[in-house]
Symmetry: C2
Subunit: 395 residues, 2 copies
Amino acid sequence: MDFEPAEFEHRTERAQQLMRAQGLDALFLMSEPEVRYFSGFRTLFWQSPTRPWFVIVPSSGKPIAVVPEIGAPLMQQTWLDDIRTWSSPHSDDDGISLVQSVLEHFSTVGMMMGRESQLRMPLTDFQTLRFNLTRTRFVDASPLIAALRFVKSEAEIALISAICSIACNAFDQASSLFSVGQPLRESFANFKMELLRQGAEDVPYLVGGAGQLGYGDVISPPDATPLQDGDVLMLDTGATLNGYFCDFDRNFSIGEPNDAVKRAHEILWLATEAGLAAARPGATCSEIFHAMQQVIGDGGSDNTGSSSNGNGNVGRLGHGLGIQLTETPSLIDWDHTIMEEGAVMTLEPSMAVPISDAGQNVGILVHEENIVIRDGQPQLLTRRAPRQMVNVELS
Amino acid sequence: MDFEPAEFEHRTERAQQLMRAQGLDALFLMSEPEVRYFSGFRTLFWQSPTRPWFVIVPSSGKPIAVVPEIGAPLMQQTWLDDIRTWSSPHSDDDGISLVQSVLEHFSTVGMMMGRESQLRMPLTDFQTLRFNLTRTRFVDASPLIAALRFVKSEAEIALISAICSIACNAFDQASSLFSVGQPLRESFANFKMELLRQGAEDVPYLVGGAGQLGYGDVISPPDATPLQDGDVLMLDTGATLNGYFCDFDRNFSIGEPNDAVKRAHEILWLATEAGLAAARPGATCSEIFHAMQQVIGDGGSDNTGSSSNGNGNVGRLGHGLGIQLTETPSLIDWDHTIMEEGAVMTLEPSMAVPISDAGQNVGILVHEENIVIRDGQPQLLTRRAPRQMVNVELS
């Protein structure tokens, strides 16, 4: 298992305190992050959509697992005792009657229904459950789960810190990985292999781009376009260790970058400084957002408002990080979540490259660091990017 | 884009034929495979659960995309024309009013609600949509989508074939990748890097195990246990190329394997032969299942019934393959889906290692190949595993 049983006991106790305060008799969970958070059950088998998986957290006692037989041996290695299984895939009852037999003892059942959640079971099966459980009320528990997962334990922080270090080590090899004339696809493959060599367990997320005036967007897969002299190359990675993510990028210049790109990089570096200064216990997401946004707004065009530049408005300047590549909360104007010690966040300012010639095909630049909120200054989990972009042709 | 526009036109036309036959005015889709299937929109950004994404397929004309602004540049590269965006994440309307403005023109709307599906949007947002769209009926379209995706185009088959070849090439390097004393975690890392070196785009899935009498289950992540003389080592990979998966495993012996393991490997190899002989257009999943199951049942213990051996009953002997690691249908007793030319399937017989001493900690063995159904014999997409396990210490 990735953690001692005490870690899961503590998570469960915290959940149960919140459940009692909110009048919830049980949590009914089925998505990978929540099942793993309460049980420790970690597998890549979630790639297969075939089978549903369930964990029910009662208001006292250990969580109960209701899982396909194929998962029984792994679930038996967790701290859970009550593991109920069925042969899946099933022709007409893929775990539903088994789940029902657990949930029928509870009146008010919390589920993930709100922001950033999804229903990882067939909708028809959920409707069957609702129809059969006439005395059970299903309510939204996603704010409860978000509050719980927002603050990480030191054991969780140690894992995120370790994967951040591994990715920093991989980025340090940039000059041996990237070069003029290299197809972008090859740059990505080289970097992914370097992450694994440096000790990353997996690289579920690697995106980026390259261009003379920034990149077109931040979510496209790489193509075969060769890197050119004067390009800025960005790689943004979510690598994992024991299923915990880093999520940050680095920008490199391939030869001498355009002045506008240099200027954008400087602004984003300073915006990150402002974010680091603002990220304190008690500060809200909105406050940190505005601290960064003011630097971007003062120094360049603001790409967080309209998407008129066509560059794929990111919409926020950072987010939570942990079991998932992105977690709540968001560093955005309307999110008033208050920072607490132990919260792990990304600071991710982005902007359109500020040039005067409106006819040019302007790209964007993104800068990202990972931090944990501490009493006083935040702790950087990533090694701070240099103020000036690393030139891979010179280093 | 990964395919010519004609590929997407053809998919959409086939869908619309089925929609008309079933009285559907539109399909309302939101999961990665369906969004990609109809638009060509491919990105790892789905790793982030923050934003919902929608594609609506009307009964005539091109699909309509309703996506966050961050995805607009990539969606604009697809064959779609009608792309509607909003700034996401949003405080209180994450695309819902925009989706509503599209769906309100349709009476009967198909969605993925059945087997192997999930609702990739917040349940509360879906309830809002249902509440507001009083004249719209939402019905299950998952059988329609399954029928559509079941038969692959030659362009899709070429991609699956290519990634199967890449993975075969990686497995061919086994003797330089695996050795006695090596921690299992390192064996996995070596293999993952070899897959990337051989040209895999990504390795979203790599599981396996090792042991003297088979492995404990087939979904656990690797630990630090060193490979021992006499172990059988299994790696099962879902690597990708342009987002299309292979899904097969290979077993290797580390030194001389146990006789019972050799016997199980032989039985599974013969079961696969029976599957290859049975997999013809017109045959049902159930018939192919029974052809393989009879060889397993005759030759060893049957692990597809009860899970009393505690080894994580897989429940089926193969499945569809393509955009996802596992797709419908299942090679299982109750699945009567009829094979058609162009269907891509895995043959995946598994069994408990047959030993007489009930006191021993018995593992399982799994064998897997990928095929495409053709007129007559199926075409192997994987290079057939040798009848005798490869001994990595001797080769």
